[in-house]
């Protein structure tokens, strides 16, 4: 029988249609019903205006869109024989603010999605800690605004580099904010020093911990989320960064990738009109986001250990997000230390009105690869295509060829399926843009 469920508070809404038998999900389809048409809004606009418009695709990952746009622009210059060499300093500062956005995203997932949903599943009424997510994120936003001026919705990345010209004082201020966040997170969320946490090797290491993070781990096990939520065990990373490299993984075997093989198709949503499109790589569905990056990273033995034991279950996916948060916070300080403030912030670029051609910008946004493809004539946008990570994870296809989220929800009750759906960290506004 078909049950219709509205999922809320996923940066918008989505409707899930569950086909159940004996109370368990056999298949489902997803429909995203709100559409803004940013790609249309961008048509015929001067190219650089996209740096202001695309962050408004999304309130929580707008910065990732900014970076994808600027990368697409710089790719365009390269393809038009006007290659731009941005300085290491500009590259690193861009990465730093991107990393910080990922961190605040994961923190909000912990407090506004994971904990409340897990408590609901266990019928526990306990929601007083939610605003820790807001508080921690506000500190992270300060670190971002040192370079970007403000968060959300900055446009400080431009063709050629960045607009800010930081002094060492700014670098130290950003480090201070990261330190403040670490103190807060260790005390209020983790229950242990971040270095010790990153050295955890197995799930047993959580046994003696008593914190919000260990509560998540315990509840996931109690709710048997380590035996549910399996997707295709296929992962993809497309953004090129200092903290992660493009690759695809089939279980644990790595292969090379190229974003040109990413295509989209209309969603299969017979019960309702959906504006979302599914994203495929070489005609297959791949999971994107935290689990992909943590599986591919050399520095996270515990996530790989969890995967060895529990495959790509909802448990592994959730814990991977927490580990990525801690790992990136620590890494961000190393990144700041390596910045040479004497390099130029922004190099001069050829007047955009002389540039025509195409360009692609790929970034690892909090939820996975974000692709911007542009077609420009004399500095004006002819065509703009945006492919977001939720399109990789939360597509809607047929029962025979399910997308990662569809596959993950098979075999659970509807209540469990809704949680599993959210372990992919859904962003409704990005999906339909």
């Amino acid at each position: 029988m078909i049950t219709k469920q509205l999922i809320e508070q996923i940066e918008g809404e989505a409707t899930l249609f569950f086909d159940t038998k004996d109370g368990l999900v056999e298949s489902s389809t997803t429909s995203f019903e709100n559409f803004r048409g940013v790609e249309n809004i961008l048509k015929n606009k001067p190219l650089f205006d996209a740096l202001v418009i695309t962050p408004r695709v999304c309130g929580i990952c707008g910065h990732a869109h900014l970076m994808a746009t600027v990368r697409a622009i710089e790719d365009l210059y390269k393809n038009s024989s006007h290659k731009i060499d941005i300085s290491d300093k500009a590259q690193k500062i861009r990465e730093f603010t991107l990393i910080m956005e990922i961190v605040q995203n994961h923190l909000k997932w912990i407090y506004f999605t994971a904990l409340p949903e897990l408590f609901k599943l266990k019928n526990i009424d306990k929601n007083s800690t939610q605003l820790k997510g807001a508080y921690g994120s506000s500190i992270i936003s300060k670190a971002i605004s040192v370079f970007a001026g403000q968060w959300p919705h900055s446009s400080y990345m431009v063709a050629g580099g960045i607009t800010c010209d930081p002094t060492y004082v700014d670098i130290l201020q950003a480090k201070d904010y990261v330190d403040q966040f670490i103190s807060f997170f260790e005390k209020e969320s983790l229950g242990v020093d971040i270095d010790k946490f990153l050295a955890f090797e197995s799930c047993k290491d959580f046994n003696n911990l008593d914190s919000d993070v260990s509560t998540i781990e315990k509840l996931l096990i109690e709710l048997k989320m380590n035996e549910k939520g399996f997707a295709h065990d296929r992962f993809i990373i497309l953004g090129e960064h200092s903290f992660t490299k493009p690759s695809k993984l089939i279980q644990t075997r790595k292969y090379a990738v190229n974003s040109k093989y990413v295509t989209t198709e209309d969603s299969y949503s017979p019960n309702s009109k959906s504006y979302a499109k599914n994203a495929l790589y070489k005609d297959e569905y791949y999971e994107s986001g935290v689990l992909s990056r943590m599986m591919s990273s050399k520095l996270s033995p515990i996530v790989k250990n969890m995967h060895r034991r529990y495959k790509d279950s909802a448990y592994t996916r959730s814990m991977a997000r927490i580990f990525e948060l801690v790992y990136l916070v620590k890494y961000s300080k190393t990144l700041l230390d390596s910045i040479n403030i004497f390099e130029p912030s922004c190099v001069e670029v050829t007047n955009i009105s002389k540039i025509s051609g195409t360009g692609v910008g790929v970034v690892e946004a909090p939820r996975g690869p974000l692709i911007h493809r542009i077609d420009v004539e004399n500095g004006v946008i002819k065509d703009y295509e945006i492919i977001t990570p939720t399109q990789f994870n939360i597509g809607s296809s047929t029962k025979q060829k399910p997308t990662p989220a569809q596959k993950a929800m098979v075999g659970s009750t509807i209540a469990e399926a809704k949680f599993i759906f959210k372990t992919f960290d859904v962003c409704s506004v990005c999906t339909t843009h």
Binding site: N34, R36, F48, S155, G161
Partner: protein, 313 residues
């Protein structure tokens, strides 16, 4: 500050109301930027504790949006985020119907962000059916033109969390909020984004910036900065208590004004090297003369690097 125990309530701002007023936050076409900006408000916990949150897109709420759309509840303060669209349905129900119902009993309606205030970026989705709650760019319009007496516009893209915090606190304490012609609180929107910009000396002496990525130089002359024409307090009440666009060398895009977004946001339209648009209220001719004279000064200190400067006399 860091060591406060957040799971215990420490101090609650006193409210003049007998019981907690009901706050409802609904959306039109939105990117959720205002919701996320609001989460950055310092002391958010203490403020929000004074309200019963019926629904908010992110925060803990007493009801689901689906329940809200049944239009059986009411609220004391209604917050609307995103562009209004007559044709928009969310959760299968027309947003217009939801807005109409909850505006009736609400004592105050806050249009949060430029989309809800004037139409903003997402007006371009469908210019005929999309607009702000009371303004369509700079013209008065339905849906809430009849109720504009209880509407406050907090334009900005996104809104600064402290501006919304101010309105909510004033609401709780029954403090009168004075509004300008665009229904924006005068205490926040009378100043210009230009007030408090750290590059003010460069503006004064007309030293333009040669490129992005430099501490030196004003961005108004070539890089499209609209701060001298934009009403906001971005350089007074800093963003994230830390900075602002112009302080990090990004031009102000004029996001609090009804005409946002304009075109060619990173370039200043000039006529014979003088910006076409001069600061609010300044006569073009006087500005031209001033600019002419200012440029004849050659203050070495301002033409060189800011940090290379030696202070010995």
């Amino acid at each position: 500050m860091i060591t406060k125990n957040l799971s215990q309530q420490t101090y609650t701002m006193p409210s003049k109301q007998d019981k907690k007023p009901k706050l409802l936050w609904i959306q039109g076409h939105s990117c959720n930027g205002n919701s996320h900006s609001f989460l950055n408000l310092p002391n958010l916990e203490n403020l929000i504790d004074n309200f019963e949150v019926i629904y908010h897109p992110i925060l803990n709420s007493t009801h689901s949006y689906q329940e809200v759309t049944k239009c059986k509840l009411n609220c004391d303060i209604l917050i609307f985020e995103g562009t209004f669209d007559y044709n928009l349905k969310r959760a299968d129900i027309s947003v217009y119907e939801v807005l109409k119902h909850y505006t009736q009993d609400a004592k105050m309606v806050v249009a949060v962000g430029s989309c809800a205030s004037f139409g903003g970026i997402f007006k371009e989705i469908s210019p005929e059916s999309c607009c702000g709650l009371v303004f369509d760019k700079d013209k008065l319009t339905p849906p809430l033109i009849e109720q504009k007496g209880k509407v406050i516009n907090l334009s900005g893209c996104p809104v600064h969390p402290k501006w919304l915090g101010f309105v909510l606190t004033a609401f709780l304490n029954e403090i009168k909020i004075y509004l300008d012609e665009q229904l924006r609180p005068v205490e926040l929107y009378s100043s210009l984004a230009h007030h408090g910009c750290s590059r003010n000396e460069y503006f004064e002496w007309k030293v333009d910036s040669k490129n992005f990525g430099l501490k030196e130089g004003c961005l108004y002359y070539e890089q499209g900065c609209r701060a001298p024409m934009t009403h906001s307090s971005c350089n007074k009440i800093l963003w994230n208590e830390t900075s602002s666009k112009t302080r990090v060398g990004t031009p102000c895009f004029g996001c609090t004004e009804p005409d946002f977004p304009r075109k060619n946001l990173f370039t200043t339209q000039t006529n014979m090297s003088i910006p076409q648009e001069v600061p609010v209220g300044v006569s073009k001719r006087s500005y031209l003369t001033m600019a002419g004279i200012a440029k004849t000064f050659h203050i070495k200190r301002l033409e060189g690097k800011l940090i290379d400067y030696k202070t010995t006399d």
